[in-house]
């Protein structure tokens, strides 16, 4: 077999993966595109192993290792995506801008803006208060804590996402304080409330 054919297939797969990573908005679709790129690399490894007749079979063994690492990566990535969804109720990459530069130019409020935003930028993505609060919530309700952690978490997620606006806010308000209000305003306006919640959490 000509080595060019698998190499071209792998190059095309890799560039399709590049397009997917850059153009997709949903985080899970971005993970799928990363898988495409990893598979392009795997095809290259296999074909060069076959071509070079490696006595140690380095290419195929490395392919197996890459497959295992990709499985671990997908597992961790999905856990991060689920934690993100639990805290922000979105997985769109365009809307996760907590660490972005402030939109106002540095010419006007140069001393004021960097004074506030790094603090809040460090405060906003804290997953611990939300996580521990929902932990209290799930341990407070007796049947839910009895049903095991996984089903409890998924049921809480299902409850939370059941309605887009109103029911969702109700659930969050019942759970704890003003988090419904803090979620409504998008990322930048909720920062003082998030700091309040951080203070009351411990």
């Amino acid at each position: 077999m000509h080595v060019v054919y698998p190499a071209i297939v792998s190059a095309l797969l890799f560039s399709i993966g590049v397009y997917g990573v850059l153009a997709r908005r949903n985080t899970i679709l971005v993970l799928m595109s990363v898988e495409l790129m990893l598979n392009a690399v795997n095809l290259n490894l296999v074909v060069f192993d076959v071509w070079l007749r490696d006595r140690l079979h380095g290419g195929q063994v490395l392919t197996l290792f890459v497959i295992v690492i990709a499985a671990a990566e997908v597992g961790l990535g999905l856990a991060i995506v689920l934690a993100l969804y639990r805290n922000r109720q979105t997985v769109d990459l365009d809307r996760l801008r907590a660490l972005a530069e402030p939109p106002s130019g540095p010419g006007t409020g140069a001393p004021a803006n960097p004074g506030t935003t790094p603090e809040t930028g460090a405060e906003t993505p804290v997953p611990v208060p939300g996580a521990s609060r929902s932990g209290e919530e799930s341990s407070g309700a007796a049947p839910r804590s009895g049903a095991g952690p996984d089903s409890g978490a998924t049921r809480a997620g299902a409850e939370r996402g059941s309605g887009l606006g109103g029911a969702d806010n109700g659930g969050r308000d019942r759970a704890g304080g003003g988090s419904g209000r803090s979620r409504r305003g998008g990322v930048p306006p909720d920062e003082p409330e998030r700091t309040v919640r951080v203070e009351e959490a411990p």
Binding site: H2, A23, N39, N42, W51, Q60, V61, A72, G135
Partner: protein
Amino acid sequence: MTELVPSYASPTGQEIVFLLLGVMAVGSALLVVTTRQLVHAALWLVVCLGALAGCYLVLTAEFVAWVQVLIYVGAVVVLLLFGIMLTRAPIGRAADLDSGNRVVAAVVAIATAVVLVTVVVDGFRTAYAPLDPGAGSAKEIGATIFRNWVLPFEALSILLLAALIGAIVISRTDIRGRG
């Protein structure tokens, strides 16, 4: 290795099968990144990874092909589908799966493809790999893993364990941080 290069005009049966599978993989990969339905993207990913497993089979890497079917098609795609389900993504047609920089992404991807394909064609035009079956069987790969690659194998098992524990700790809500 590179002495006798058969002509490109008369492809062998293996090459025809490989090219068909490659076209299938590339086409379904394009559908993965362009489809408007999230679940369909995961299912097209199954087609793409299955076609790649067929490519590995044609390239005599049998064990890698079956591992690909087991882990990618069996585990990773199911994990991705669970992720779609748990994040309550919009099932059905959704118009906002692409971000605003599609054009830039397409330009970058086409540039990447052009550069890679020209370099690869230029570099490997005379390379020919005769396929003899049995070189990638489970016996060969197992022997070489447990004879020559034992230390990376064990390190990989520890990495997998760490990733598993990390995923559990991140995704459970009733585990508190210290303090």
